[in-house]
Symmetry: C2
Subunit: 195 residues, 2 copies
């Protein structure tokens, strides 16, 4: 694979997360040998998304409009605000159909080691929104990782100081699991948070 | 992630080999949130490669020209022809700097279950080239998988019937390995092919 535009393609594919040299070569080979329409399609989809997709002015998620579909929906309960890290997390919550409120998507998490501070995930905007008088409860649904927990802690403390009711997703034993195979930390949390 | 051009991007990314819904969403999120220049770059690289890259008329590998760099190189020994499955395999052989001949890149392998027959990997063209009077030896360097072995067998038999000298890459114990940890099939082959 020595030619210019082929090398350029392999290099460009390597910018995708989780794609190394071998995978990039395999992808380039597949597209050029077996799926040129797919290559054209992906090229157009990338160009369109890169120029059209922006952030919802209310919840920060990706959208092509001023406001995303969820924020525009009049059926949504505006008194509940659920804070998530990414649009994928939001999608996971939406699939449960158990939450009818609105979201605030951080588009990241606090991560001092990576240089990601409160400004990078729009915390000032979140605090302004949470204290607008409409929101009655903020539900912290960041991930249960070290960084997600730290992010939830920082947001929770700041909102409590402003007199907002803050809750966190329950930690506990996953549905359908046998205690014998659940890790110790999860069982300990489930014991402490028993109801 | 509900909007049109975002969904289109996720769908298009799924056409890449080894990329499912989750990976595609993660890639789309990464490009749109952290690397929009990368998205534009990849878009252009895909469009350019899809329209510029074609097959070398002599060896079938990817190139932007009539003939690839290797086939154009006058320093190459035109009496030796090495048959490989993909450009990546060719690149692996080139990195050894142990082969100075030319290549024929099948751009695939015989795979009846996937409907890939002799015509799809250009065997007629390979036979014509091998019998042009210049080629003295054909070296079969297809992979040592079931399909690669079958492909080598078919090509080998056909060329021998045409009176061409055919060799196959040696099977044996990999360099730097301890016998204790080498699989049985490899040791058995190394015993049979001992020299």
């Amino acid at each position: 694979m020595a030619d210019g535009s082929l090398n350029a393609l392999v290099e460009a594919l390597r910018r995708l997360p989780g794609v190394g040299v071998k995978s990039a070569q395999r992808m380039a080979f597949h597209l050029l040998q077996h799926d040129r329409p797919g290559a054209q399609l992906l090229s157009q989809a990338l160009a369109q998304a890169a120029s059209n997709v922006r952030h919802c002015t209310m919840c920060h998620t990706f959208t092509e409009h001023e406001l995303c579909d969820t924020c525009r929906n009049p059926q949504r309960d505006r008194s509940k605000l659920c804070v998530v890290e990414t649009p994928a997390d939001q999608a996971a919550l939406e699939r449960t159909a158990a939450f009818k409120g609105l979201y605030f998507v951080l588009m990241g998490k606090l991560s001092p080691l990576d240089g990601i501070g409160p400004k990078d995930i729009g915390l000032e905007k979140l605090f302004a929104r949470a204290t607008d008088g409409t929101v009655q409860e903020v539900i912290l649904a960041t991930n249960f990782t070290a960084e997600g927990e730290a992010t939830a802690h920082v947001i929770g403390e700041a909102l409590k100081a402003r007199g907002i009711a803050v809750t966190r997703l329950a930690r506990g034993v996953p549905a359908g699991s046998e205690l014998e195979y659940v890790d110790l930390g999860t069982i300990a949390h489930a014991l402490v948070d028993r109801r």
